[in-house]
Symmetry: D2
């Protein structure tokens, strides 16, 4: 599709746990629309009419992720921390299936321990952490990747929670960012993964105790990632297929037809 | 550790479903000791006193994979096909945890749809298949990898089940073998993955209807993989760790001590 | 940049050796505009006004790749076979530097032995070959990658030169396509590599003796690759940089300024 | 080969530029046997009779790397800084060919700008640097890799030259270590690459101005890497091979014979 061709807007759903914001006045002050609200705002700021952004949260029915919502989502972003266990297995299964069928997924910060991320990764996704006002520096290791477009090297976040290695994830398909913290730790903080037909990006920065989702370069990275993760086409989830010999010779000599 | 130093033998457990062998006279004739028996024999043939090999099967209590057996296993090989769903979730969880703590895992042929493999991969692990006596050619794409040591290029298997792309797995850490089939399909048939502290190898060849586990080069690959997947040390499963600032300055100036 | 925003067209240069076409009446008949002409036509067919496509050939002064032309090229495609050694080292150095600074490079078929490709890969880039009218099937192993968008699985090319493993290249960053041939060989025939700020795609199909560059799906892949390889921004070639302590604290607190 | 089987010792050649040591009394005092002497000592300390270690330096005829020496070397380590340009192209070509034929190569610290490393990588291999007594912390990101065996997490080096991103290398096949520096920079400081039949490891630590090659954990990593990079068999350098149809059916039905 030519970039000059108008196309339907990306349908983005920003999922937030929305518990800190309800319980902690400091967090509510920092994020009056919730962290999900700030994340959604940052995406819209960068993608404009290219994206239709809505939000969903834990306390809504089916966590706001009904069959219909998930089916109408091209890219889902995920932030959770306190209540990973409260997310229903049914919804996780739904999201998992949809990712394998092509939906993009952006997992943010403490979402590393979410059911959906650990299900997709197959590992513990554990890491080392500390909340002690470290300064985080985010260094780009893949400067030609679209997710790194337009941000400085390094991105500086004055105060942040520390997330450090060993971060128990599969080797990323692409390592976009490595963070260092003033305490000396490092973390693979910007990682892509392809699973089934879906594209996944994990991004480390962001915490309820720091105004990270108001940071202009953090917003830029998330918006870049949303655009990168968008599916190029409608896919079915991969499935077991029995094929007779010469199944691909479909009469017109080019094996054309449905991509499996 | 120097190769001249004697070290404790590798403790290998060969797991087999052992259903075809019990139900189908042809399979029983082809594999009088079960497929697991043939696989175990091939490993011992190549590793000799370097390995202590035992077998375990579905119908044994806890599928033969009790806490004790799993704790005493350095490398586990897995073959299943008919009864993936009958493998208890408890045992799968036990094996999964042990892999993340460092146990090697060799997944064979139809094990691609096993609970343990799909749990580790996070994808459907589905593929295209046909049982029509295709000839399989196994081509080495990583000639310096120890798993490919000592086998011809290509390995020729006269009659085989076809497994073809799209094989819905994460991008392998290392792609060792690609197979082609006489019907024209291809498959990434030799793939390594690191998950947690564990090393995993998937190897496509092998089916109850063909004498593949008697093939000398298939046996060589499996034995190579067992040696490659052996853990170098005892690890704990990765876990969430809270670390105070300067935790690694432990008095002797080198940050030594326990590797997390 | 939003896809709704008009942007300057991609500047594409299609380089062809143009010797077979001059020497061999059969090839000239098959490719009246040269292979480079057919490749250029295929790109324009798919990218339309998104791309400005020109061609350059070996016998032109500086092979048509003057400083000016290279500086004005966003993506270069490369086809050569008979005369790799005749390409001047000066031009190769120029193209190499430009790739590291961000120009996309699409290397086609026998370009695998070109000076520019072997210089970028660091290996022999040798492989196994045969010209015996094999049928080639091109299987997609990265279905969510934009280079694979819109083509069948498999792409069928009725008659082709065989290129088979071992293909002595570095492990690709992304393996998009694997080909099989009727003789049984396989080849990693669609591979991406990032080098410096530049994106590179190697694509195996295409030979003077077969009308491969008229094949609609081959054309689609090349056009997809051109769009994928386009740089997102102007970069300088990476260079050695001395940095004083705290160099990134540039006054405005965000480390902004020039991306190195 | 079983680890219980005695095998011929690894033939290791430690190459050093040996200029700082001759010119600078401080360096000579720090490394009385040269840096190459300290590196060789560290390898022998860990590998014992498993390895036969010799050294070679720039000022020797053919830099000590005659055809005979290179042909008898299984693993070569490389340290240079001041005089990369003085290394003859003939010797670089010889080493390059030998790596592609299977010789292991360990590139240390400022060797990142050596002719042999940039030739193998295809990129500028430039990075950011500063010599200001930064503390370096080396974090393991591949804990099950043999190169990381037996070292703490992190390795602490009290005073070091800083090497930081963007480090212009191809994406490593395996990222074993990431370093952080007290100034905040990070670097992919332990990287593996396979090229042809050869295994390559780049390791960042080490400088003439700091006693890094006396550091016990740095020595351990280098010794681990030497063992890992050792070839498993004698290979020919990959070459272009013409193959007739059915070339692999060599009479005994298994396609056996010479691995190409």
């Amino acid at each position: 599709m030519s970039s000059a061709t108008p196309r339907a807007p990306l349908r983005v759903t920003v999922w937030g746990e929305d518990l800190h914001e309800q319980r902690d006045a400091e967090v509510a002050k920092r994020y009056p629309q919730g962290m999900h609200g700030a994340i959604a705002e940052g995406i819209s700021e960068h993608l404009g009419e290219e994206a239709l952004v809505r939000t969903a949260t834990l306390r809504e029915p089916e966590h706001g992720l009904t069959e219909e919502v998930v089916a109408e989502t091209d890219v889902l972003t995920w932030w959770g921390q306190l209540a990973h266990r409260e997310v229903s297995d049914e919804v996780v299964k739904r999201v998992h299936r949809r990712v394998l069928a092509g939906m993009g997924l952006i997992v943010l910060h403490s979402g590393h321990l979410s059911k959906i991320f650990t299900r997709l990764m197959g590992t513990t996704c554990t890491l080392r952490w500390r909340s002690a006002e470290d300064r985080e520096l985010i260094w780009t290791t893949a400067p030609s990747h679209p997710i790194a477009a337009g941000v400085p090297h390094p991105i500086v976040i004055e105060r942040q929670e520390m997330y450090g290695e060993f971060f128990d994830i599969p080797t990323p398909d692409e390592l976009i960012f490595i963070s260092s913290f003033s305490g000396g730790e490092v973390c693979r903080s910007g990682c892509t993964f392809r699973r089934g037909h879906g594209k996944i990006f994990y991004f480390g920065p962001g915490d309820q105790d720091y105004p990270v989702y108001h940071h202009p370069h953090v917003r830029r990275v998330i918006a870049n990632a949303v655009r990168w993760a968008a599916p190029d086409a409608v896919h079915a989830r991969p499935r077991l297929i029995h094929s007779d010999t010469d199944w691909f010779l479909d009469g017109d000599g080019d094996g054309d037809g449905v991509r499996e």
